[in-house]
């Protein structure tokens, strides 16, 4: 079977999974009685009087049979309405406006993680059991033992508290004001790109400055994982017969490593990378909180603290959807790299 058919098949398989996810979330919701769920929509404890609760239940259809509620909920979602949060703001609108910040952070981190991990893993594999390998190993194990928030706090204290540079937030205050003025058009919402598109490179520079520490914090753990997998995968590939044969053919070592060993070594790494990138959404919650960046993760953290069920579930839905898409991308990538998979 060729690549196209495989992709279509995988997409079709997506549907039941997404359905399952929504059912699961909905199921969790239903575990609470209408009363409890209503209470979540109320801001003031004093308002917890029977009439108010009745009204809230009516308003949000909390007493209808489950399948009706599910229908209303799902149709709402499919039309882009994720409901309102505790403060009666649209969840979808909040998420969309905060998305660019998170995307900026996630994309840069992904690049660092994947490229850095692959490169470092290759180096460690080629210089196996020598200094670079040992150093990488120690670094990697420390990396994934670190609590992300601790690393972030440490870096922030050292650089911002100690040296006064690389502060929290997405951009510094002055630049932030400038971007909100009419002199600056926000095309994408990503400061780094918008800066270039507007011809105001200092905006890009400032944004990059504020990205250094968060990206480092977010990437460190995941980078360690990728490095480790790449290393062992590469060691295995380099020991294979086809590498030996390629060398016996007279292929230059550089090409042997790149074309023969690495391409095969990348196969397991591709799978893990997919999950790691998807898992970034986890880390984003912590990183945005520590570095005070107003993104989706920060929204989720605040929502959880406020016991804002609707908002949290909206976030969960988005996240689950992203993960499922990532799974698909990983599978397709996998099939692209390894022709043996395509045969089913």
């Amino acid at each position: 079977m060729n690549l196209h058919v495989y992709v279509i098949r995988r997409i079709l398989l997506l549907v039941p999974v997404i359905l399952g996810v929504t059912l699961l979330i909905f199921g969790v919701l239903q575990l609470l009685s209408p009363l409890q769920r209503a209470a979540a929509f109320v801001q003031n404890p004093q308002d917890l009087r029977p009439e108010n609760i009745e009204r809230t239940i009516e308003k949000y259809h909390l007493n209808d049979p489950p399948w009706v509620q599910y229908q209303t909920w799902m149709s709402g979602i499919l039309s882009g309405n994720l409901g309102v949060d505790r403060f009666e703001h649209s969840i979808a609108a909040a998420l969309i406006s905060r998305a660019p910040t998170t995307i900026e952070l996630a994309v840069y981190s992904s690049i660092v993680i994947v490229l850095g991990g692959i490169w470092q893993g290759t180096v460690a594999a080629r210089r196996k059991d020598r200094l670079p390998d040992h150093a990488t190993r120690v670094l990697a194990i420390s990396g994934w033992s670190l609590p992300t928030f601790w690393l972030g706090l440490l870096l922030l204290t050292f650089f911002y508290g100690g040296l006064g540079i690389l502060g929290p937030g997405t951009v510094s205050i002055e630049v932030g004001e400038y971007t909100r003025s009419s002199a600056f058009t926000r095309y994408t919402g990503l400061y780094t790109i918008d800066g270039i598109l507007n011809g105001d490179l200092f905006v890009t520079w400032d944004a990059l400055e504020h990205l250094v520490l968060p990206v480092f914090t977010l990437s460190f753990v995941s980078w360690a994982i990728i490095t480790r997998i790449m290393r062992s995968s590469m060691i295995e590939a380099l020991g294979r017969d086809y590498v030996k044969f390629a060398r016996a053919k007279g292929v230059p070592e550089r090409v042997v490593v790149r074309r023969h060993a690495r391409r095969n070594a990348l196969i397991p790494v591709a799978t893990v990378s997919g999950f790691v990138v998807a898992g970034l959404l986890n880390g984003v919650v912590i990183t945005e909180t520590v570095f005070a960046r107003p993104g989706i993760g920060d929204y989720a953290a605040v929502a959880a603290l406020n016991l804002d069920i609707a908002a949290t579930l909206g976030f969960t839905l988005v996240n689950a959807f992203l993960l499922v898409i990532t799974n698909l991308v990983v599978d397709v990538l996998y099939a692209y790299i390894d022709p043996r998979i395509r045969l089913g």
Partner: protein
Amino acid sequence: MADPVLRVSGLKVNFYTYDGVVKALDGVSLDVAPHETLGLVGETGCGKSVTVNSLVKLIPIPPGRIESGRALLHWPVPCPHCRGKGCGTCGGSGKLDTCEACNGRGTCSACRGHGRFRDGKSCARCAGVGKCYACDATGKRHVDLLALSPRELREVRGSAMSMIFQEAMSALNPVLKIGEQVGESFYYHQREALCRATIARLEKEIERARGAATGAVRIVSLRLYLTLYRWMLNKTESRLLQFLRKVPVVRRYHRWIEKEMEQRSLEALRKVRIPAPEEVLKAYPHELSGGMTQRVVIAIALAGNPKVLVADEPTTALDVTIQSQILRLMQDLKAELGAAIIFITHDLAVIAQIADRVAVMYAGTIAETAPVREIFKRPLHPYTRGLIGAIPRPHQDLVRLSEIPGNVPNLVNPPGGCRFHPRCKFAKAEVCASEKPLLFDVGNGHLVACHMYDQNAPLWTDEDRQPRVEVVAR
């Protein structure tokens, strides 16, 4: 042997592992004559693969180390002046085949062949013998495989000396198409020829495009490619050219040379009698059968026109019918290309079928070397005698199959002296346990590493030395 294409002398290889130092090869010496098939036989673990792998440094070097030894390969190169066409320097042959050290004379350049200097001191380089060290007195151009730089080694591998391995399927990269893998040999060894052919093709295309209406743009790009290929002809390893392969539009230039590679790969596949080579080129290794992949591997190995082809148990993993097909193929190809083959196996029947000469290895040493008929009719070394004797003969009335008592020694602590002596019926403690036997010449191209055949060996009778095959009968 007068003029071997490959002469290995005193190859010593150790592996430094956590469990100790494995003395894998203890001074292995081999000669391979041009165009002959040398069968290298021995039990598993005796060092056959290590020997041939060491020649092109394919053994893992951190645990492994080539302690000493030389491997002289007779390798005339295309004359650099005329590039193979024939000129005064190369005497019209197009090839440069004189030993660089002695300029073809065959005598040691340090002592001028005398063996010692005016002041009486013995010449160290030729150990007083006077022969040219680099070419072993043949006067022809040789390279010492073990002393090559990585770059030179890369040139030898796949072109002067090729290897094929046991499991053909695992020798091919599963994520690359067959065509890409076969083309690789041509790409890295025959770049010049490929470039010239591509340039010729491009020039023809330009001619054709002149006539056509849409010619103009096409001619521009074609001319650009032409310049790039002329550049490649001059500087094969240009980094810039390689970089251009990554640049989106420009990298299409490489397609032209790939077409040439495809042509040659098709021819190579046809030569190994693969049906429907066009489809095989586009296939992946796992889509082919065992016999087909072995043919592909052979095609790759022969692509560079090697002087020596090393086949490391190529038929062991195949069933008998395929095996005989492959063996016949190899013999035919050898006749056509004139390569020498080192055929490693543990199957004496295969040896009998295709070898011209046989070398028997035991525990990291060469026990005996002889023409194939001699080995079977007159095995001299006690180990060989045991091996030949162990072949079951249907017409004999045996109660019990013959065997060699004892076990293959642990190479971390090998036996002293002759490594076979603990299992040898004829071993005499005085000499066999303490001195390692050299390869003694008993005439007829027959060499034995056994003290019994030392000309001054008083401890054995002629009766002992009779090439009687050992058979335990009842």
